[in-house]
């Protein structure tokens, strides 16, 4: 068979490789990569190889047979060291002439589906391969100019590109026309539907590269849009948080205020950059107490040194504990005049303990008047109601420490 003659020639070339030296292409693949691989091997455009296969398929099925044969014989991958031969116009023309010769030979032998079918097909295939060839890698730039021209863009199309489009279009149109005119029988029995289908096929062949190009542009645009959305989100977050804080720092006179602004911003930014998901972290003890500390820092310009040992899932008890801790911190921030307040939280299997401590002016717990029992009510009472206790240690001039402890009902 004529195709296998070609393959046999290749075999001779590849004698030392112990293989047919003929491969399936991964890059240029439509069905099995046979046409692409063959094109890479002999140095013509893959579009022409596909066109030849289609044309030969109408010459008594030679194309289909050759394709299946090549599929069984080809290597799965391009062997190492085998070079992809670059396309050249000379080889393209030579290849086309060989295919034409095969076609005529097939007609003489009798592998032929009839002039009425084959010649219009040949015209359509030649026309569309003229349009499609090198539409992908070699002159994408020219195609994009052509595409903008086709959609009414202001850029002038490349001369060869436009010539190719016109030539291919004329060939496809006349091929389709010839077929429809010649096969009256088909038109009358199959009705207008067949004619419409075939005309539609012709239009698709002509506009194909442009449609493909549009689809690619669409994907590219979508990707770009997602990228710019992400950028906008980061910018928005930085604007809301970091830039606002920097602006506030610039306007602030007191260095303590600056420090506390910077600290709470740092905490927030760190949580945003490295932190867990907000929804998830809201259910753990550690972030809950971090949040309490951050709120106090923000409200009272008072740095909070927070150390947490262990972690637990938040339940009602822990929520109460954090509220009591908030009260204790607030108390220190309002009354102690200390530079900094420390909060230490330790989670143990049977208890959670919180220490809130400052080195401020302190007070005498016994001397607090009955009517100003803010601490007693909001901290001590709250803890007792939830199975815990609060101890307040303070002395005038020696700072204050409030200890909160919660007995855990069950372990974990």
């Amino acid at each position: 068979m004529s195709w296998s003659v070609l393959i046999a020639t290749e075999t001779r070339h590849a004698g030392k490789q112990r293989s047919l030296y003929f491969w399936r292409s991964h890059e240029q693949r439509v069905v099995a990569g046979i046409a692409g691989g063959f094109a890479e091997r002999i140095g013509v455009d893959a579009v022409y190889v596909r066109a030849a296969l289609i044309v030969l398929a109408f010459a008594g099925g030679i194309g289909v047979f050759a394709y299946l044969l090549a599929w069984t014989l080809a290597d799965q991958e391009r062997p190492a060291g085998a070079a992809v031969r670059p396309d050249s116009v000379h080889r393209d023309i030579g290849f086309a002439l060989i295919v034409l010769g095969l076609l005529i030979a097939a007609r003489d032998i009798g592998f032929w589906f009839g002039d009425v079918i084959v010649w219009p097909v040949v015209m359509v295939v030649i026309g569309s391969s003229v349009i499609w060839a090198r539409g992908d890698a070699l002159d994408r730039a020219r195609w994009s100019r052509l595409a903008t021209a086709a959609t009414g863009g202001e850029q002038a199309p490349g001369k060869t590109g436009l010539a190719r489009l016109i030539l291919g279009g004329v060939l496809v149109v006349s091929g389709v026309g010839t077929f429809l005119a010649a096969s009256d029988a088909v038109a009358s029995t199959g009705g207008a539907l067949v004619a419409v289908l075939i005309t539609g096929l012709g239009v698709a062949l002509i506009l194909g590269p442009w449609i493909v190009r549009q689809a690619q542009q669409l994907t590219e645009e979508r990707r770009e849009r997602i990228r710019s959305q992400e950028r906008a989100e980061v910018a928005a977050h930085l604007h809301d948080s970091v830039l606002q804080t920097l602006a506030m720092i610039q306007r602030s006179d007191s260095s303590r205020r600056m420090v506390s602004l910077a600290r709470s911003q740092e905490r927030e930014l760190r949580a945003w950059l490295y932190g867990a998901d907000d929804r998830e972290s809201a259910e753990r003890l550690q972030p809950m107490f971090e949040d309490v500390a951050a709120r106090i820092e923000q409200m009272y310009d008072m740095p909070v040194e927070l150390v947490v040992v262990g972690d637990a899932l938040v339940d009602d008890q822990i929520r109460t504990l954090s509220q009591a801790a908030y009260e204790a911190l607030q108390n220190a921030a309002r009354h102690s005049s200390a530079e900094v307040v420390s909060m230490y939280v330790e989670v143990e299997p049977d208890a959670i303990t919180v220490f809130v401590r400052d080195e401020g002016k302190g007070f005498d717990p016994a001397a607090i008047p009955e009517d100003r029992r803010g601490i007693a009510h909001s901290i001590v009472g709250r803890m007792q109601r939830h199975g815990g206790y609060a101890t307040i240690r303070s002395e005038p001039g020696a700072g204050t420490e409030i200890e909160l402890q919660l007995q855990r009902e069950g372990s974990q």
Partner: protein, 210 residues
Amino acid sequence: MIRVFLVDDHRLFLSGVKAELRIGFEVVGTASDVDTAISGIRRTRPDVVLLDVHMPGGGGRTVIETIGKERPDTQFLALSVSDAAEDVIAIVRAGARGYVTKSISPAELTDAIRRVHDGDAVFSPRLAGFVLDAFASDAVQPVDPELDQLTQREREVLRHIARGFTYKVIAQRLHISVKTVETHVSAVLRKLQLSNRHELTRWATDRRLV
């Protein structure tokens, strides 16, 4: 005069610390990356190296691992904004005598440098918290109880550090001498550096630090 070498890739911070150490210290050199730090420490032979945990070219840990053995008299104190436990534990395990956060006050910083120079350990509240976390009691039997567990007293001292007390106040509250507090803290540091306890190993292997 304690001779101090500063390693930090934030120049602003370097110059700030340098200004704070004007009295009582001699800043013999500064470096902003690992390579210049190593050559600078070799050249100037400082008493104490103050170094950042995170830096281009490997971080403070690489500096300690490269130069710690050839300069046994040089002490390292890690300094960082990092909150990540594994970074802090890793640099202490590499040989740093302590870890303080960059929000430390100037007085506390000079105090920490003096203490490290004297061969003691320096634990910030945060480091104390990390250590308590890592040595938390659990069901798994330690491999070497001597190294893999904290004594009740050590735990008590660490808790006080985590609560923000100074060594002096801790000594008063626990009715022991400041020297004893320092001994406990140094013992904890040794355990932290030598312990095979699974949390520490896991931290390290998780981050491919070992």
